[in-house]
Amino acid sequence: MATPENNMMKMAAGVVAAGMMAGRSYGAGSEVLKVALLGCGGRGNGAVRNCLEADPSVQVVAVADLFENKAKGTREGLMKDEKYKGRINIPEESVYWGFECYKKIAKVDCDLVIMATAPAFRGRQLMEAIKAGKNVFTEKPVATDVAGCLEVMEAAKLAKEKKLAIVCGTQRRHEPHRVELMKKIHDGVIGELVGGQCYWFGDGIWYRTPEKGMSELEWQVHNWYHWTWLSGDQICEQHIHNIDVMNWCFDGPPKNFLALGGRCCRDYSEQAKAACAFFNNGKTDGWEKYNGNIWDHITAEFEYANGARVLSFSGHGPGTGRGDEKIVGTKGTSNCQDTCVDYKGAQIYKYEDKAQRIDPMVLEHRDLIASIRKGEPLNEGQRIAESTLTAIGARISAYTGQSFSWNALLKMKQNLVPTDDQLKAGPGIFPPIAKGVDKLF
């Protein structure tokens, strides 16, 4: 850990000395990188710690969450952590909560906002932060619908103009072994890419029961994974990592989508009944909607620009877990990690670690911070919007039973997420489970 860190500091010092013009306080030579955290759930708490690990100059100055207790709890947790002593400087008045806390976070005096709320709201959050001149680390995915992806693309353009960084939590893009491997693949070491597979199939996920004082809508956001409008469904929320690797291999999103799937065994009936009773004076009639509306399996085919067709397998269930990628070329194949083999079985490329592998979740923050320092801010906004939209495209294809092109997808008027005006403590939003022939937009 020490060596690369020192190297980076040295490099950063050099860059700072060379006189940075762009960016805000940090790039201008400040010693401290002020970070605000938006979204204090598991991933937010993880991401902020990854960021603190990434660079000693990071200080956390504000936190926000939909829920007061989570925002306050995160502040306390960080302050209590000996590891980060002196680096958590969050005044009580810099703790925000409520549906519109993202607007307050954008106004905080900071260099970087870490976004880790439910994916549904990322577009507006990102736009707000970029408009306010903040660099952003955003968790994936960055939207749950077409409109959200388009908004992120817009924000990415604006960030480019304003020379702000957007780095996204698709950490595979920051792993040196994958980065080097992709260079080889793009150089043609396995020939033309003619096929591929990617998988994320695993066990089910948590189901969060309502807590005292929560309205139905607030609880839904708390238990966000289970609704397509909030999580984008599992293909978007989780499998995007692998889909992003495929897009990376082909250097762009697919041109055509064909997918099918359904919900055959995702069952949270006990918890759903309890949630129903919680919001309905103990009654469990109509509990089914509390079970969520995401599916549990999707098989998708992505057809890329050169006609190559790639299989995607995603879901949650009791079966055999999968979670990797494979790319197939005319001269060989690769595991998309560090190795290429030809069709005689001979290894034709292998990445050799020059140093100990660093946690990629930390590495992505290092790359982000280094890019800000260099005045060459990384901007992954368009790319992550495309990968998110790739996953959403597959989901729409599966939900509707239709096959369509990327261009058609870009034109779909799909907007699942309520506006800020509609987002208030109150009744939940419970669209039905898709039947596989839902109407296209």
């Binding site: 003619v194 064909l258 065994c265 397998f313 269930g317």
Partner: protein
């Protein structure tokens, strides 16, 4: 028994040779060897007189000279009636009921049977037909469970020993555009195959209402598509065509399968308990992975095709190769009807004394589809070797099955709850 049947076949050969010289003379005057009546006439018994059986009978008669439909069997009188008039089959050669196939197979003059009942019965009917020394045209699929596959394969081997012909209704194998494409693929036109896809995505299919007087069995038989014990589920019943093409192109069978599927749209109980979609990955030797998709959802987009990808090109398997060795099939203005051609090939092979035997091949492809179905029902990935040796699923109808035997509809398979015999429980 066996000896007599051998005679039957040889008689056919002899007469066939004679006729070959004199062109076809459909003579009713007997070359009465053994129990064979009539020259080299192909005397066909149809077992299963529904839509597919009727179609196969028409195609069989149209395929070659000297073919007669001489006996009919079906579970239902109305189905038999449908063909009886058309082919002027006398009453005493029309058999009705679940055992009707036995009566038909006992007719010694019948030298070819068309097996077109619901596939769940196929292994039993096929084994009985081979036992009775009949040449067989069998509709696909040929089984719905591992026990059925085993029974079918054993009978296919027995047919081989008895020199009986077995041709299956995977008609792509008899279609020139496929045959010519496959020759080129196997000659290396697209290089080494490294990927493949196949699809049978379509809308819904027919359904017969249940009347008050229908027993469980009658209702299920008349709606056989929707019950796994009868159809094998739609991946077996329909998609087997495409899976068979990929096996053909590969020249091998997949080692590993994993599938995801469900019943998302077609949920009305009148559609039994089968799924309406499957997405499957088959992994062939050398880690060549393929995509298979099949769907029966009304209103969803259609795609029925195959595609193989090699190191030197790509082919649709049916007339087009692109890449280093581009090629397009030319039917020279005379397209072949593959549904007729398969019968022509079958009958020619019988007459030539070089009986085709597609039994093991079609059983292998059927098994691929069954494996995928069971993988989707469980969400578990498994190896073919496991499936062949350890899976004890047996959906074969009981020997004493009667029209009034109670037969509750099995629940829709739910991964985690569905139990696949032979598969260790999770955890």
């Amino acid at each position: 028994m066996v000896k007599k049947l051998e005679l039957t076949r040889r008689d056919l050969l002899k007469t066939s040779a004679m006729v070959a010289g004199a062109l076809t003379m459909t003579s009713a005057a007997g070359f009465a060897f053994g129990e064979v009546q009539g020259s080299d006439t192909i005397r066909v018994g149809v077992i299963g007189c529904g839509g597919r059986g009727s179609g196969a009978a028409t195609d069989c008669v149209a395929s070659s000279k000297g073919v007669e439909i001489v006996a009919l069997a079906d579970a239902f009188q109305d189905r038999v009636n449908g063909l009886k008039g058309k082919y002027k089959v006398p009453d005493n050669r029309c058999f009705v009921g679940l055992d009707a196939y036995k009566q038909l197979l006992a007719l010694s003059d019948v030298n070819l049977v068309i097996l077109a009942t619901p596939p769940g019965f196929r292994p039993i009917h096929f084994a009985a037909a081979v036992e009775a020394g009949k040449n067989v045209f069998t509709e696909k699929p040929v089984a719905v469970c591992p026990a059925g596959i085993k029974m079918f394969k054993e009978a296919a081997e027995k047919a081989q020993a008895k020199k009986l012909a077995v041709v299956a209704g995977t008609q792509r194998r008899h279609e020139p555009r496929y045959i010519e494409t496959m020759k080129r693929i196997h000659d290396g036109a697209i290089g080494e195959i490294v990927s493949a896809q196949c699809y049978w995505n379509q809308g819904g299919l027919w359904n017969a209402d249940r009347s008050d007087k229908m027993t469980d069995i009658e209702w299920q038989l008349r709606n056989w598509l929707y019950f796994t014990w009868l159809s094998g589920d739609h991946i077996v019943e329909q998609h087997v065509h495409n899976l068979d093409v990929i096996n053909w192109a590969m020249g091998s069978l997949p080692d590993v399968v994993q599938a995801l599927g469900g019943r998302q749209f077609r949920t009305d109980p009148k559609y039994g308990h089968i799924f309406d979609h499957f997405g499957t990955e088959f992994i062939y030797p050398n880690d060549v992975r393929t995509i298979s998709m099949c769907r029966q959802i009304e209103g969803a987009s259609d795609r029925v095709s195959e595609r193989v990808v090699g190191t030197k090109g790509v082919s649709d398997c049916c007339g087009t190769i692109t890449g280093e060795n581009p090629w397009t099939f030319d039917d020279k203005g005379t397209p072949v009807n593959p549904y007729v051609q398969e019968h022509a090939d079958l009958i020619e092979s019988i007459r030539k004394g070089e009986p085709l035997n597609e039994g093991v091949r079609v059983a292998d492809s059927t098994q691929c589809a069954i494996m995928a179905r069971e993988s989707a029902y469980t969400m578990v990935q498994f190896k073919r070797s496991w499936f062949e040796n350890k899976c004890t699923l047996n959906l074969l109808p009981a020997a004493d099955l009667k029209m009034d035997t109670p037969k509750p509809v099995p629940p829709v398979a739910v991964p985690g709850k569905y139990e696949l015999p032979g598969l260790p429980k999770r955890g």
